[in-house]
Symmetry: C2
Subunit: 191 residues, 2 copies
């Protein structure tokens, strides 16, 4: 029988750069299972939610906006930071309403994934919202000018082929939601 893979032990953490809530850099001193000690930078960013939201007639809610991280215009799914102390599902409901003016009564959770395997960054909470309906005008309060587009499955695939998804979280949301086996395997009703 193979021995289990052991976690690394955190011996020390010291702050290196603090621009909270946006960003904090820490240096951790870690002990590996074989006894070696190493220093690792850890990047603390804000956890976020991202939503594959679709209407009853099967159109997905996409936002087209300039995203400075990508240095270009990209299609993105509704997404946003989880406020301190906020439940991720509550954040998803809030962001969906703010960014699109839509609400849903049928939410699926696809799980939580860290952005960086070494430096962590933050956690992405991935959701699907079905049967979305418009109840208000969008009012995101974000810096970006966002344009809401309701796209069919065929239009989503064509947009991806055309390079209109620039950011990995939106690409992952798209590929997961459109891969039925994995969507079923990972999806859990969450309210």
């Amino acid at each position: 029988m193979t021995a289990p893979l052991e976690p690394w032990r955190v011996l020390d953490s010291r702050d290196a750069y603090d621009a909270e809530p946006w960003l904090k850099i820490r240096i951790e001193t870690l002990e590996l299972p074989d006894g070696r000690r190493v220093e690792f930078h850890q990047v603390d960013q804000q956890d976020f939610i991202i939503i594959f939201a679709e209407t009853a007639d099967g159109r997905a809610l996409l936002l087209r906006q300039y995203k400075h991280g990508a240095r270009r215009v990209s299609l993105t799914f509704p997404a946003g930071a989880v406020d301190s102390g906020e439940d991720p599902l509550d954040a998803a409901k809030r962001e969906l309403l703010e960014e699109t003016g839509y609400v849903s009564d049928e939410w699926i959770g696809f799980g939580d994934y860290v952005m960086q395997g070494n430096q962590r960054g933050c956690v992405a909470h991935m959701f699907q919202a079905r049967g979305c309906r418009k109840v208000a005008e969008a009012d995101s309060g974000d810096l970006e000018e966002m344009r809401l587009e309701l796209l069919t499955r065929e239009e989503l695939v064509a947009a991806a082929a055309n390079g209109e998804f620039a950011i990995i979280s939106s690409l992952c949301m798209l590929t997961l939601a459109l891969q039925p086996e994995l969507a079923r395997a990972l999806g859990r009703p969450v309210g």
Copy 2:
């Protein structure tokens, strides 16, 4: 006709924290299309490649390892940093050999995606390698103890359902490679 979405202009960039090559923090002064000026933190991390590598009999090459960013053991696809000045495809071939001992003569590129829509982080270059064959013993030189596992499609889906993928780049690689329409739409032979 709708006006195009305008990019933000970078008026200034100043270094805030430097731990290159691992990490650099900059503060950019940006001008929005409406004339407002804002400051944005930018995180410069190392670009990386990630590979859905499969053998001629359709088994994917996975690594099981403790990943400190996730604080737990995770399945990951072969991946690694692109060295300074290195071509991403060359980095992919190098990392595949180092981490698994396998090589491939049939490479597909799925495109490049930024990790963070606001703070950028780095770019993930996503590849598929077909018909992989073992030519050497793995010798990654990484800190992590890695265990190579060759998984069928059914085993990949079961592992995902069991929460064994902790990191978004590996989840995205999995869902993209297993979604035939999107894999076809995004894939380009690259050598």
